[in-house]
């Protein structure tokens, strides 16, 4: 029994070392496995930054106390980047199309407000992109409410009484950063494992493994371990960027590490299954670029799954990435964004890992016949 276990480990180790060494000599895969996850991270961050920083010019013809407080209320909405400009500057930029909106604080704003007279705040809106337009319009309306609630609290009888579920607010970028970690783990694991598995079939080196007296499970486990080891640096780089650059320190360090490793292992197993089934690196990479990212958008990337429609909830529930995001949100920030308990989420991700590994074994077994088919 002991000897069988030792032999299994020896074969798994040989398989892992072979894949690690091969990957290290294959520069294109190595570069891709680092750059692709990082690219996704940069893409997502830019996406968020672009949405949260619509340039909106404020032209102040009145610099009184109320006018200043109104602009401060505008700034508190955090949906746009306010630029205080004079009229000429704002006009030039408007013509160049570099502004989403121009809000003008009219002369006599303070006097009108203090005497309770109605004030019209002119707002020119570039409706090129409806989403950005809505952000600017919403910011202006929200600023009016916020301004009155702060400056004339006795005049506003209807105010929201906010009770936070969590002790601290979470910014959109930090919230999304954790989803980005999961995307990076997914892309990195899938890419490395899938290309390694497909390479063996493409270059026919798989025959050496198929004709070995070692157990196929050992060879497969070794392959996965190799891919895991090679994709780990990319995963660590992305997690480090989130922790040290974005300053998003995990609330539960061990859990964050465990969830990240479990997620990476799950996608390594998925990549091994897909690479073995496809047997072609080019086809695998095309598939990798086409499928996972849309699925990520359906996995509770932008908010709690409970906020989504029923259809999105159903799709997300079938994807491991959703559960991984939920676990990362809890590990880093103590947020609960899933619909099941954390234990159930962890079990489901583990279940996916086992299922993908089983699929990889099945694909490997079925492929043995194809290695012997005419023309193979």
């Amino acid at each position: 029994m002991f000897s069988a276990g030792r032999d299994w480990l020896q074969a798994a180790r040989a398989s892992a070392v072979k894949d690690i060494r091969t990957a290290l000599t294959e520069r294109s895969t190595l570069v891709q496995s680092i750059t692709l996850p990082v690219n996704y991270m940069i893409m997502m961050v830019l996406f968020v930054l672009a949405g949260a920083h619509d340039p909106v010019a404020v032209v102040m013809h009145d610099n009184g106390r109320y006018a200043q407080q109104f602009v401060a209320a505008l700034a508190r909405t955090r949906t746009c980047r306010l630029l205080i400009e004079d009229q000429a500057q704002a006009r030039d930029q408007w013509r160049q199309g570099t502004l989403v909106a121009v809000i003008t604080i009219p002369a006599g704003f303070d006097a009108a407000v203090s005497h309770g007279r109605p004030v019209q705040i002119p707002m020119a809106v570039n409706n090129l992109n409806e989403d950005l337009t809505h952000d600017a319009v919403w910011a202006a309306r929200s600023a009016v409410t916020s301004f009155y609630a702060h400056v004339f609290p006795h005049q506003v009888s209807l105010v929201p009484a906010e009770h936070d579920q969590y002790p601290r607010d979470t910014g959109y970028v930090p919230f999304l950063a954790l989803s980005v970690i999961v995307i990076a783990l997914m892309v990195s694991g899938l890419l490395q494992a899938g290309t390694a598995a497909a390479r063996d079939w493409e270059e026919r080196t798989v025959k050496e493994q198929l004709l070995a007296p070692a157990r196929p499970s050992a060879i497969l486990a070794g392959q996965m371990a190799g891919a895991f080891a090679v994709s780990l640096p990319a995963a660590v780089a992305v997690v480090a960027a989130v922790v040290f650059v974005a300053g998003d320190h995990p609330a539960h360090l061990l859990m964050a590490a465990a969830v990240s490793l479990l997620t990476l292992a799950t996608f390594v197993a998925a990549g091994t299954a897909a690479g073995t089934a496809l047997k072609d690196r080019a086809a695998f990479v095309v598939l990798l670029r086409a499928i996972p990212v849309p699925l990520v958008f359906l996995s509770g990337l932008f908010g709690a799954l409970g906020f989504q429609t029923a259809a999105v909830r159903d799709i997300a529930s079938a994807l491991p990435i959703h559960y991984a995001i939920v676990l990362e949100q809890f590990a880093f920030r103590g947020l609960r964004t899933g619909t099941a308990g954390l234990g159930a989420d962890a079990l489901i991700v583990t279940g996916f890992l086992v299922a993908f590994a089983a699929l990889a074994a099945l694909a490997h077994r079925l492929s043995r016949a194809s290695a012997a088919s005419p023309g193979a």
Binding site: D7, Q10, T25, K207, P213, I219, A372, S373
Partner: protein, 343 residues
């Protein structure tokens, strides 16, 4: 047809083995099959005694590689039984694989890794329970045997075809298999490297007692290497024997007899030659400048009847010259499998 050498258990035995590949099934609706079933191996029976180099010859598509796949268990026989050293391949696949060394046509080497890394990987899979130090010693020994010690740290992708073949064979020898299977061992290798590889294979059989099964289309290789050969075609065994036996039985020996006669056309000499055992044809041609001199061309099967021919023409003229061109294995091969291509 079955070949039996009498030694038990044979290194390899195929008993009425067939392999039929079913037609492909369309993946779209409605379900249907595409093409016809392909019978790659058809009731093949064969026994290979231990310690010989055995050649499996046949035209392209004759079933050689499928036969290897059946022996290694990569393919499952539709009917019949394959045994290696008395072990049923289907029931004892892992034990059989431990006794086999298989070098496929494509060598299946890891081009991005060094020669040593390739052998180390193989050792990990094929040498369970062997301590690391002994594995390293075996790697050294195989590199030495393959003449690759100097290049052990070079990437295999930089090797010549011959070096790759030698490394592939060395790799499969590391676990000391009882039966070494070489699928087209000198495919794409230059003549100089061929000689080295042939010597290496012969050494494995004669000095180390290994049984070697070689598939090849190169009949010179079969003749140089093999103690026995089997010719298969359309998945069936056509014949089996020693290369010499096959070429003598199925090839044609051509004898050229130069005879000077006193009385013109050597009719009696021709008649006497036709009576010689094994002679299948005789033609004559007058020498263009030397009057009364004729060249008689005699074709024969079953070996060279040179002595009998010299005796037969005695008394019918002066025998000036007698040259013999031995029967060739390629002639025997074509005689047995036909000249039509299989593409």
């Amino acid at each position: 047809m079955t070949a039996t050498a009498g030694l038990w258990p044979p290194a390899l035995a195929l008993h009425q083995v067939s392999k039929v590949y079913p037609p492909r099934r369309a993946w779209w609706w409605p379900p249907k099959t595409l093409g016809e079933p392909v019978t790659a191996v058809n009731e093949l029976s064969l026994e290979v005694p231990p310690g010989v180099v055995f050649g499996l010859l046949g035209p392209n598509g004759s079933g050689k590689t499928t036969t290897i796949n059946l022996i290694t268990g990569l393919a499952r026989a539709t009917a019949g039984r394959v045994e290696v050293a008395g072990l049923d391949v289907r029931r004892h696949r892992r034990e059989v694989l431990a006794r086999l060394g298989t070098v496929p046509q494509e060598t299946a080497l890891l081009d991005d890794l060094t020669a040593r890394d390739n052998l180390t990987f193989h050792a990990g899979l094929y040498l369970p329970g062997v301590p690391r130090r002994e594995r390293a010693a075996r790697i050294d020994a195989q590199l030495e045997l393959a003449g690759l010690t100097e290049r052990q740290s070079s990437r295999v992708g930089t090797f010549s075809g011959g070096m790759k073949r030698r490394l592939a064979i060395a790799r499969q020898m590391m676990h000391d298999p009882e039966l070494l299977i070489l699928d087209e061992p000198t495919l794409g290798v230059d003549p100089q490297q061929c000689l080295i590889i042939w010597a290496y294979i012969r050494e494995l059989a004669t000095d180390r007692g290994k049984t070697v099964l070689v598939t090849t289309n190169n009949l010179a290789e079969a003749e140089a290497l093999c103690d026995q050969v089997a010719i298969i075609d359309h998945g069936r065994l056509v014949t089996i024997g020693t290369p010499r036996g096959l070429r003598l039985t199925h090839g044609t020996t051509v004898l050229s007899v130069q005879l000077r006669t006193a009385g013109g056309v050597p009719g009696p000499a021709l008649e006497a030659l036709r009576q010689v055992t094994g002679v299948t044809g005789v033609t004559s041609q007058a020498h263009p400048t030397l009057g009364g001199t004729y060249t008689l061309t005699v074709t024969a099967r079953g070996g060279s009847p040179a002595a009998a021919i010299a005796t037969a023409v005695n008394g019918h003229g002066d025998l000036l010259d007698l040259t013999v061109r031995e029967a060739r294995l390629d002639e025997a091969f074509i005689a047995l499998t036909g000249a039509a291509t299989r593409d």
